[in-house]
Amino acid sequence: MECRFFLKCIDFCPVVEYNVKVWQSMGILFGFLRETKKRRMKMKKYVALILAFSLTLALAGCGGKDDAGSDVKSEGVMTHAEYMAAAVDEQVVVETYVQAKQSWWDNKATVYTQDKDGAYFIYEMACSEEDYAKLTPGTKIKVTGYKAEWSGEIEIMDATFEIQDGNYVASALDVTNMLGTDELISHQNEYVSFKGMTVEDAGNGSAFMYKWDNSGTDGDDLYFNVSFNGQTYTFTVESHLCDNTTDVYAAVKNLQIGDVVDMEGFLYWYEGVNPHITSVTVK
């Protein structure tokens, strides 16, 4: 597995963070006790104890971290395949995991969610401000709503939800080689990555634009063009998902034409692929 995965675990999983702290403590202990053999013996006992303890915690942590591995759907809940097969306007019930929140307004939340089989974009789901705060990445929710299609984007609208036990944060799927293929749309709304793409002129002689036609100002959506295998694609930093205080917003504003970048984000659709980018790294 990639180092990125472990780093992400450290970011999201409090149990792993505890382990790091334990190891840090162990280092400090090691410094204090290094002089004598007796103390070295004592140290070994501490280390053994701490290792055993941290292993237990790590195992417990992994269990809490990724419940989607045993993601058995409750009765009356659709699998991702069943959801995709459902007709537009049909009522759908899914169990899924919050990956990111786009916006909350007027007691309605728009959320990117995913289970181990695929993603579900939930548009303006009924949600109090208090509940919105509980929708942290990984939170499992049961959503009841109607399947809809808006400019090619498959989504659930007019939905309600309830929070359930379980946690799953998806790792980014590399879809770079799927760009321009029919396979790409099968990963619509998933958390994905793009590797080694080249920044092109956004159309205004610069590497990015505020709004699709350069009519905006700081704080608006950022649009930028990136190419791969001779094809150019328009990517977006959606300002509700990542506003102008985020690292990705700043990173895109600092891009130069010709930069080669790795990116992560959600595979949104609007009259074609239109990824909502959440991180950009210049190589």
Partner: protein, 523 residues
């Protein structure tokens, strides 16, 4: 002790002043050009870069005329965001100075005390008013503003807005498909014609594709703004919507009949809406629509050769586009809504700042701004001076010369409104009229969604729909009023007790101060 009490009362009185709001604007004797003033202008553009450029150029030109005034521009892409931000900023007295808005929204702003500046005195001022002698540019005279448009900003006995641009809705028709279906477009589009052709277009071939376009996607009739759809249908019928006093008439039997018809075509999917499906232009330009109703201010997106589009080149389908007024019930008495941005001024402590705002607002009515902005979309200028100018009439005469400035569909959309100005109407403005408008659209959206989802639309459905919509938009509380100031009735008993208690405490304090003072004097 006395000093402390005086300070306390001063603080309390200051607090009272703050809660009361600003003093009413009072027209200064002169505009003080020796003072530097900074004003903020919140504007809306239709995600159109040219419009942004025009705002910026207007500000530059105005600042050159008035070097002591600096105008800060903040851009929005929809009226709703402006409205929400204004509401948020009223309580902290951080509203903009000049704001593009809808009259419906101003009615809500007026619920605060002296928040919005009444413009009557400013209009009429000989030096700084319309055509004023001291204005640094060729200001338009009052009778040069189209009176119908100017009057849209008048309510509650005052003018609170000046028009900036005007548009209406148009039906952008794929004439090629209408004729392929065996129909001929009438001179005036009727609802019956649109429904009939739309239903006919739903015929599917053996391959499962629609016969008219050979594709598996077709929405024969799609409407962008369903609130406008319901309002226009009701006005065309002469049915109730609201009274100027703010009485809600929307939930009537005609509305119900209209919803039954809409449900019929929503169920067959011959009709859909922007909120349910997407932008009408995307379907029209991809050959997936026959009748697309959208604002004339969106004309640059409509048609095969539209200069603006969201769909990729390979999805474009070539067809003949015709721009027509929205469908009518009575072709001899066409009625269509008048809409478009207006400008209001927010009150400030410094009357000089308000006067500077008024001068800038007036500058937006000059030919340079009016003509340039109108040409960006299917808007028309709101002044007769601009409409009748050689520059504008030349522009109108050159439709189709190119697919940019002289884009045929855009110019036809503008002409549609010029030719139909006398057939336009506006809805009454009162505190709550914005919610009523939303409710009108929601009735259609909910009905169409319901039938698409297999629900039965019957009397029970209608009863629930009316009740839910009244509740959702708070139209069942009797809280709307034409004056903008809601009559809250007699004070609740608890409030009376609190006020009496406060008065008693103050009496005790004053008695104590007096007695204490006399005691000191004796010593």
């Amino acid at each position: 002790m006395v000093l402390v009490l005086f300070l306390m009362s001063a603080v309390l009185l200051t607090g009272c002043h703050g809660s009361r709001g600003l003093d009413a604007f009072s027209m200064p004797e002169t505009f003080d050009e020796s003072r530097n003033l900074e004003i903020t202008f919140w504007a809306k553009n239709d995600t159109n870069k040219t419009q942004t450029d025009i705002y910026e150029r207007a500000i530059d030109d105005f600042e050159r005329l008035y070097p002591n005034i600096k105008v800060n521009l903040r851009l929005y892409t929809n009226y709703g965001d402006i409205y929400n931000d204004v509401i948020t900023n009223i309580s902290t007295n951080t509203t903009p100075n000049v704001c593009i808005t809808y009259p419906d929204h101003i009615a809500t702003y007026l619920t605060g005390t002296n928040v919005v500046v009444p413009l009557d005195e400013l209009f009429a001022d000989e030096r700084y008013g319309f055509g004023g002698s001291e204005v640094h540019f060729d200001s338009v005279a009052r009778d040069e503003v189209v009176s119908r448009f100017l009057d849209e900003g008048a309510f509650d006995g005052h003018y609170y807005a000046i028009p900036f641009m005007r548009s209406t809705e148009a039906c952008y028709v794929n004439k090629t498909y209408v004729e392929a279906l065996g129909y001929t477009l009438p001179d005036v589009l009727t609802w019956d014609f649109v429904w009939e052709v739309s239903e006919a277009a739903m015929a599917v071939g053996e391959d499962g594709n629609y016969l008219v376009n050979g594709q598996n996607v077709l929405i024969p009739f799609i409407y962008k703004s369903t609130d406008n759809m319901m309002i226009q249908m009701l006005y065309q019928h002469g049915a109730g919507y609201s009274t100027p006093e703010g009485e809600i008439l929307l939930f009537n039997d005609t509305t119900k009949e209209l919803l039954y018809t809409i449900a019929e075509y929503g169920k067959s999917k011959a009709f859909s809406t922007f909120k349910i499906s997407s932008y009408p232009a995307n379907f029209l330009n991809a050959g997936q629509c026959v009748f697309a109703v959208d604002s004339t201010a969106g004309a640059t997106w409509m048609g095969t050769d539209a200069p603006l589009r969201d769909i990729s080149e390979d999805k474009l389908v070539r067809f003949e586009t015709v721009v027509m007024p929205v469908p009518q019930f009575d072709p001899d008495e066409p009625k269509m809504i008048s809409q478009g941005p207006s400008v209001c001024l927010f009150n400030k402590e410094d009357p000089q700042e308000v006067l500077a705002s008024w001068l800038f607002a007036q500058y937006l009515l000059t030919n340079d701004v009016q003509i340039a902005y109108a040409e960006t979309e299917g808007y028309i200028p709101v002044t007769l001076r601009a409409q009748n100018s050689e520059e504008y009439t030349d522009y109108l005469s050159r439709g189709g010369e190119d697919n940019a400035l002289h884009y045929d569909i855009k110019i036809k959309a503008a002409k549609l409104l010029i030719d139909n100005t006398d057939n336009t109407f506006v809805t009454p403005v009162f505190n709550g009229s914005a919610s009523l408008r939303d409710a009108a659209g929601q009735l259609i959206e909910t009905t169409v969604k319901a039938v698409r989802r297999g629900q039965t639309v019957d009397e029970a459905f209608m009863e629930t729909l009316y009740a839910d919509t009244r509740s959702l938009y708070r139209l069942d509380q009797g809280g709307v009023s034409a004056s903008g100031e809601t009559d809250l009735g007699p004070l609740p008993q608890t409030a009376v007790i609190l006020l009496v208690s406060l008065a008693v405490v103050w009496v005790f304090i004053i008695v104590y101060v007096v007695l204490n003072s006399k005691k000191h004097q004796k010593i």
